[in-house]
């Protein structure tokens, strides 16, 4: 199980990527800061960075409104 933003549980499977998690969460905003167990992951790695089981994933949407 992966914990997203300390609130949502996402089922883990081998090879699950950041992109997969964003899709499951329906996180469509294009500009985010992602950390996996405290390590920042840049957006060019979203398709390749695989998330370990039990990971603490923080997805910070850098959106601050009108």
């Amino acid at each position: 199980m992966i914990l997203v933003n300390q609130k949502h549980q996402v089922a883990w499977h081998k090879g699950i990527t950041i992109r997969d998690v964003l899709k499951i969460m329906n996180y469509t905003y294009p500009h985010m800061a992602v950390r996996v167990n405290g390590t920042p992951v840049l957006d060019d790695q979203y398709d390749t960075y695989t998330i370990p089981d039990e990971a603490d994933v923080r997805v910070i949407h850098l959106i601050a409104g009108g």
């Binding site: 294009p30 910070i60 949407h61 409104g65």
Partner: protein
Amino acid sequence: MNEAKAKLHVLSEFTYTPSTVERGYTGQTLYVNVGDGTIKGKPVTEDMKEKFIGGRGFDLWLLWQGINDSTKWNDPENEIVIASGPCGGTTQYPGSGKSIAVSISPLTHVPIDSNAGGHYGPYLKFSGWDAIEVQGKAEKDVFVYVDGPAGIVQIIEAPEDSPTDTHMLGHWLNDHFAASEKDKQQMSFVTAGIGSDHSYIGCLNFSLYDRKRHDLRYKQAGRGGIGTVFRDKKIKALIVKSFPVKGDSNHPADMERIAATGADMQHEVATFDPVQNRMRSRGTSYLVQIMNDYDLLPVHNYKFGAHPDTPKINGDIWEAQYTQNMPDGCWYGCTVACAHAVDAYEVRTGPYKGQRVIVDGPEYETIAGCGSNCGIFEPWALLEINFYCDTYGIDTISFGTGMAFVMECYEAGILDKEKTGGLDLHFGKAEETLEVMHQLARGEGFGKIFGMGIRQMKQYFVEHFDADPQFVQDIGMEAKGLEYSEYLTKESLAQQGGYGLTNKGPQHDEAWLIFMDQVNNQLPTFEDKAEALHYFPMWRTWFGLCGFCKLPWNDVVDPKNSLSAEPAKIPHHVQNYVEIYSGVTGKEVTTDDLIDMSERVYNLQRVMNIRLGYGLRDHDAIPYRSAGPVTEEEYLSRQERYDDQIREWFDKDPETMTTQEKMALHREYREGRYEKLIDAVYKRRGWSPNGVPTVEKLQQLGIDYPDVVAIVKKYL
């Protein structure tokens, strides 16, 4: 000299030698009394610059001195004060040309501040004035004309045949005040429209002359009914003719520092905007689909957060409608250039039917407020509403939120065709919505009732239509008398505070914390939320002190920002503002200093609210729709979420409860936590439990002036 201008009747005139701008300031503000004809300059003291910086700070300080404890919005001593700020008029850094207008609002009865693009504020400064303060009430319609190169200020009688509606008046003013194309480029107008004559939700339009289109464009200071005050004073237009703008018109202390910081930022915009929000092609309309995806788009008077028809009015639709490849910055040098327009729109209704016009926008707030919130998903209708709101001088946010409230009242049976004069005002009724707009502009029928704003409509519906007072209070989305802007806050306690714990009323430019709180879960405790409700309102206030637009701060950002300790603050952009401010004024400051500057102004505004009989804890209350589900329909639409919360928050089994019982439990809890939030925020801001800035706080900020302290002492 334009011959048409020479024929106009000058009521009062003042001549002056424009001061050169030094380090962002001219050192003088302009006072104009349209009632008795007084025109004079006032010095800007070092203390004023030190304490209140400029822009909204100057506006509030001048207003503070101009009014008394019982001034009402329509008293002659109420003022409209407009300023840009020391950095306003910078052309090297994007978004550096905003103006801020302040006045006592007819909706809230306390000062409202509202910012706009367009050229008026910077042009006023480059004509020799850091701010303009307009007081009094004229007997007949007037123009206030400031001509920097000629060194004159005039109050001029507006001929009876001069138009009032903005898009007509703008052309008339160009015909009468500009002698050449160059003149047009150096002029800017502030206008309202006949909607401002007949409602409390009037807005101001700030013009800019679009050199590519050879036509006028308008940006709106929409919030709080300043257009209504403007027309109550019988002002038809404020007109400024400026010296030509140059890259160093502010005579900054360190031009190289500004240029270097600006170049970095322009590079960031050029590199990342195309792959992020695409402001340059879609403007803020990109937010429509995002808000819908996250269940935050107001739909049907904030009942719901998403709608299947949203793709009909999302950013892709507007990108196709906006005229592309035009320079759409609302001030020179703004490469974010999000101020888009639709050219040659053919008007379908009302007095301008058949005219082809430029529609400035629509921007996110207009699309969400007049679109999804009213169940209107037809782009033509949103263009038409946008155009008429602008030319009539009506705030699109108050209009949209007000109409959403009316539509829910209609569907709830409080209103019917008999009460609306034959109009079917179910959600989604576009033509009828436009008819309400035209009635409002004429001051007739149901439109006249509508123009009072939600707070007064609530009372009217109770008194005349037997509405349930609790129900209309719960669903009428206003606080302090101002209509909410367009975000759904039910699941973000911090944003409930972001709207409720404001000085002016629920406008998101003070704090917009929905994603930080609800989606990112970065503010889990009351203390975290209180810290955010301290920092962000202060930070966002700072833009308005200096003449900046907020959008370049966080709508395009180098992805490396995500590696910073506090990405939500966008620290490298905050540092850019330190560089620009110091580069213009020559004063070395830190990022903390910027927050201190805002805190002084923010607290002065709070005390001003108290001085006028508001500004206490009771006045920070919010309608329940903002905090939780009011109706069963609303509860059932998100039943899974609410039921889960009952399990999580109360350890109860929702299966054993009726919907009404579950709603009551939610309400008690949600209302209680809002009160706890208020306690935490007041404490963080240095205010008493009743929301009053303490004497110590005023001392710490250096605004413990005797008259300011005397006001708070009455409540401590």
